[in-house]
Amino acid sequence: MKNPYIPYEVNILDAWYEVPGDRCIKTFKVSFADEKVWDSWSHLPGQCAMVGIPGVGESMFCISSSPTEQGYLRFSIMKAGKNTSALHELEAGDSFYIRGPLGNNFPLEEWKGKNIVTIGGGIGQAPLRPVIQWIRDHREDFGELEVIYGARTSQDHCFKDEFEELNSCGDACCHLSIDVEEEGWPHFVGFVPTLLMEVAPKPDNAIAVTCGPPIMIKFVLENLEKLGFTPDQVYTTLENRMKCGIGKCGRCNVGHLYVCKDGPVFSYAQLKEIPEAFA
């Protein structure tokens, strides 16, 4: 069996900034340095990987590409600490290391035939992107796809081009928002939970998936309940500080669940039972 602590080297095929500024977000498109790794690699939307550079460290990130996008993996990473700052220095042609895939996935098999609504905020769109892409690549398996996404300003929006493309090709209905009025912004102004109430998706035969800052998630969950979604129709992802990523090092637990291994994907029904889930 492979040693789960030994990472694979990946080469950066392409890298670009999604969001500029202090809390900039950079997307890396990578492929394994050893092509043979692809033979044993398989991941599903929602799964994560430990991403890092030997000598600097590792942190856990969701894989922001769907397995239906073949020949590469994507990671969209916000600059926040030592490791992410070092990663942001890297460009196409450089390499870093990953361990994975880690954690569980969104149960897309169970969601077949349902309408899906994704509700994202800021960098929280990164784990939702592979869900959207998966549905696009299995379009006939799912009902309507409603995409709700907001960030503080128009500059803070990730994956800008993709939303436009999504809308125009008819695969999904996208609803975008920014927190504060900006000149020329044609979409909603206000917080994501408010936009959710404006869009008011119907709960019948539907699944809602939400990722974003904790305060957004809190109000989105409340509003989904108001809209008639039951806790088992609602999914989210959790994050916590992690070291091993495989349920040994101890720190990422919420109650008896390890976010790294039992998560990051949880249904709201599961999390309602665990007081630490929203700590």
Binding site: I6, C249, G250, N253, V254
Partner: protein
């Protein structure tokens, strides 16, 4: 399995025999007894209560290399645990052996931890029954153990006065008994019965206890209870309760680089430290000692049993004996029971 007899005057020879392996046994270091690598059997101290530091470091070192690398070179050189060779831990207490059996569940759960499990495979564990409870704060019998417990052991020694009864408990234990055969004799026929009586007598001398029935189920419901503030008020956050705990297994992973050569290593960490859970954003889901104490107790007495069907505490009493501000896990648990 067969019980043999090891005369006390042959112990030194037996230890010498065992020192062809990597031999770890209790030895005095300043005023405390610690499990140390033995080169001279004279160093071994078998007349001890329990070691201050549990022998968990033998299979789970305080710091260990995961892999080495040279900056700029993509090759990662995995640490080869096999090089450490066959190891015998001699003379540890049944609670500490049982702790290993409990922690085995975590390290073999789903993802197998190659470093820990390889070491476990290479290690034979020789226990020493507690004829007398080693500490006034022993409570192994409350959490499923016994001063003569066999779980996690390959071989159990019992002090019979002028000799040790040597009982092999596993295949590994039989093999080691075989290695020692030239130093062993047939044990008296009534030894087994005597050992049973001694076990009952020792259990009777354990002074502290807690009824754990219902605690794992009750703990999650006490999330917001006042008791956590009360029991953590005097905590200094020093982490000694976790470092000296034979079942605490939490670790950090850090990279070190010097002159272009580096390693990724893991090292013991403690859920009682403030930085343990702090996010890169600065947010800390367990911001005070109240949350951290609640997690320590809940992890041992609720989360671990929920996942692995065993309480992650063996009742060795170290966290009580050595807490600088006298925080007492049995006192916390009795408040849980009363809450």
């Amino acid at each position: 399995m067969a019980v043999k007899k090891l005369s006390k005057d042959k112990v030194a020879d037996a230890l010498k025999e065992l020192s062809k392996f990597r031999l770890i046994a209790p030895a005095k270091s300043d005023e405390v007894v610690v499990f140390s690598e033995i080169t001279d059997p004279e160093e071994v101290c078998l007349d001890y209560g329990n070691s201050t530091v549990p022998p968990k470091k033998v299979v789970f070192p305080q710091t260990e290399t995961l892999f080495r690398f040279v900056v700029g070179n993509p090759e990662l050189e995995e640490k080869n645990v096999e090089e450490e060779g066959t190891t015998v831990i001699f003379g540890l207490r049944p609670c500490d052996a049982r702790a290993m059996a409990i922690v085995d569940k975590l390290f073999s759960w789903d993802y197998e931890d190659p470093y820990y499990l390889k070491r476990r495979q290479l290690t034979t564990v020789v226990g020493m029954a507690c004829v007398e409870p080693p500490s006034m704060n022993c409570f192994c019998t409350s959490v499923g153990g016994s001063p003569f417990g066999k779980e996690g052991l390959d071989l159990l020694l019992t002090d019979m006065g002028d000799y040790f009864a040597v009982q092999a408990l596993t295949e590994k234990g039989e093999k080691l008994q075989e290695t020692l055969s030239s130093h062993l004799e047939e044990a008296p026929a009534d030894d087994e019965k005597k050992v049973e009586e001694m076990e009952a007598a020792s259990k009777g001398k354990i002074k502290r206890s807690i009824d754990t029935q219902g605690i794992p189920e009750k703990l999650p419901g006490l999330w917001d209870n006042e008791l956590w503030k009360k029991v953590s008020a005097s905590c200094l956050g020093c982490g000694i309760c976790t470092f000296l705990c034979p079942t605490c297994h939490c670790f950090d992973i850090q990279d070190e680089v010097e002159s272009g050569e580096g390693r990724r290593a893991r090292m013991w960490d403690s859920c009682m430290f403030s930085e343990y859970t702090v996010h890169a954003s600065g947010h800390n889901p367990r911001p005070t000692r109240r949350e951290r104490t609640r997690n320590r107790i809940s992890h041992k007495y609720s989360y671990y049993p929920k996942r692995f069907e065993v309480i992650a505490c063996v009742g060795c009493g170290r966290c009580i004996n050595l807490c600088p501000v006298n925080i007492d896990i049995l006192d916390i648990l009795s408040q849980v029971v009363d809450a």
